[in-house]
Amino acid sequence: MTRSPPALVALTGAICLAMLPLLAPSYYVSLMIPFFGYAIALLGFNLLFGYTGLLSFGHAMFLGFGAYGAAVLAGTFGIKSFEIVLLAVMLSAAFAAFPIGLVCVRYVGIFFGMLTLAFGMLFYSFLFKFYHLTGGDSGMRVPRMNVLGLEMAQYNKIEFLAGPFYYYCLALLIIAAVVMWRIVHSPFGLHLKAARDNPRKAEYLGVHVHRFRLAAFVISAAYGAAGGAILGFRIGLADPELVYWTQSGQLVFMAVLGGFSNFFGPIIGAFAFTLLQDQLQSLTQYWRFILGAVLAAVVIGFPDGLAGFANGLGRRNPGKMP
């Protein structure tokens, strides 16, 4: 980011994504929907991981919150407006994250990771075991919803996903990124970084470290739920696999692949991961092995991820925000 102005990077990226439906086959266009979902969730995840220095190993919990929230609101209560559902799941995830965060933010490092992992698995086993409420391992159906009040009944689901919904999600991602950009560059964001780099000193200087961490946790939960709602809408199903700990690991994977020390890193990571996984899956049934090898290579060789690699100036201090 030191060489190219971030606005230019973002604009180029947005234009490329906007052109994609005109150029690529509709399969790839609809493949981008999960990318948008993950990218939005990861923007929130990285507020916690990259900017606050807290590695959550249970963040898939909030993806699940979004997907199951959408299933309940649209399926059980018949709310067909995606905007209302989106807002509702974000709000309820933020409310749910408040007590969880209150508990978790007292810890950092491995204990924070373990505690979030425990909460994530708690939610998973609730979804998995309480069959009559959540459908157990078969999950819950997420029905089709309208966007901006438009039914778009003339499109079938694939056309809808590859057409209007694609641009809708692109707009959501842009809004999410702009809001997140404002957040991390506000005094609030600076407080978070200060609390990350030297919590004791920050506390001494009057930063309420726990309060700021909690706020970051709640915001990241809302982002996660928004991403989860998009994921659920695309598959048409909310299932417990979305909340399993390996899914949380996958989120961390994407953040590190893209480079969590860069604002756009998580978006790049989500994009690269979605494409990579799709290509590997069509290539071989042993795609996990290759993904694992890629992850190992990134962790060992390129701790700044793709974004750091593209910047081409291996920072002296890997893994820290400039």
């Binding site: 204990f111 996990r288 092995f289």
Partner: protein, 293 residues
């Protein structure tokens, strides 16, 4: 009352297996400060290899009575995947713990496909051999002798490890290195070698546990990622890095699971995490862990 005793033995059996894996996890964390997500994969590796090994040696004419020692040998043998993996981990010792965690997560992903490639997607079991050692029956109370043997092995391992760490010279060196790596190195301890030894020991504990469990439960692709979560719960409850904690945590988790399955199946997994969260809240360092400063 009889059902109670049956469940008790089942729970202790599960705890014995959990303890072996958790002990490996604790050893590696205590000395190398690495939280190894791949411990579940070692467990599964031991299970798969145990099936193949017993199949192979039985075909070569091993008496079925020697199945259990055979499984221990298999577990220890396959534990020697430890050194090359430790070599890989060496590159992240000085890095942030999130990188260490992620590298072991990469190992989890890779092992999943190694199992699929070598042993295929279907579960592999050895259940025909389970009851070869007989069953103890006393009215309605019945317990397979094999389970008792595994519990005995776990107890022997715990005692052996305690003696090794407390009484032998190498054990002292090991604890000193866990305490202060720099100082140990300055006093002439070959820390690189010690790390390789420790990691291999930790791996062998995991693989042996997997090999021992395979007569009672099939080796499957899910077992690695399911088991690691339980092993984590054990070490968090007991306290990271503490052997006594691993024992206590394993008993708590094993017994809770056994009773929850009978009393209230929905809460089988739920109960474990509620305890994990409660312990982390009340005693963040775990029951036997040292309070972090």
């Amino acid at each position: 009352m009889v059902a109670f005793a049956n469940i008790l033995v089942g729970g202790v059996f599960h705890a014995a297996v959990l303890f072996l894996v958790a002990a490996g996890l604790q050893l590696v964390f205590g000395v190398q400060k690495i939280v190894n997500l791949a411990c579940g994969s070692f467990y599964a590796l031991g299970a798969y290899f145990g099936v193949s090994f017993i199949g192979y040696v039985s075909a070569a004419g091993l008496s079925p009575w020697l199945m259990m020692p055979g499984l221990v040998v298999a577990g220890v043998l396959v534990g020697f995947v430890g050194p090359p993996i430790e070599r890989l981990l060496r590159s992240v010792y000085t890095r942030d713990e999130s990188f260490q965690l992620l590298l072991t997560f990469a190992l989890v992903l890779m092992f999943q496909d190694v199992f699929r490639f070598v042993w295929g997607p279907n579960p592999r079991s050895l259940d025909s051999a389970y009851l070869i050692y007989g069953v103890i029956n006393a009215r309605e109370f019945s317990v397979p002798v094999y389970n008792l043997l595994v519990i005995a092995v776990a107890i022997a391992t715990a005692a052996g490890f305690g003696a090794f760490l407390q009484r032998t010279n190498y054990g002292r060196i090991l604890r000193a290195t866990a305490e202060n790596r720099g100082m140990a190195e300055a006093l002439g301890v070959d820390v690189r070698r010690l790390y390789a030894v420790v990691f291999t020991l930790g791996t062998a504990l995991g693989t042996t546990a997997g090999a021992l469990v395979v007569p009672t439960a099939a080796a499957s692709l899910d077992m690695a990622i399911d088991f690691v979560i339980e092993a984590f719960a054990v070490v968090v409850i007991g306290g990271l890095g503490s052997m006594r904690g691993a024992l206590a945590g394993a008993l708590i988790v094993g017994l809770i699971r056994a009773y929850a399955i009978v009393l209230y199946p929905e809460a089988e997994v739920l109960a474990i995490y509620i305890i994990v969260i409660a312990v982390l809240l009340l005693r963040p360092a775990g029951l036997f862990g040292r309070q972090a400063t």
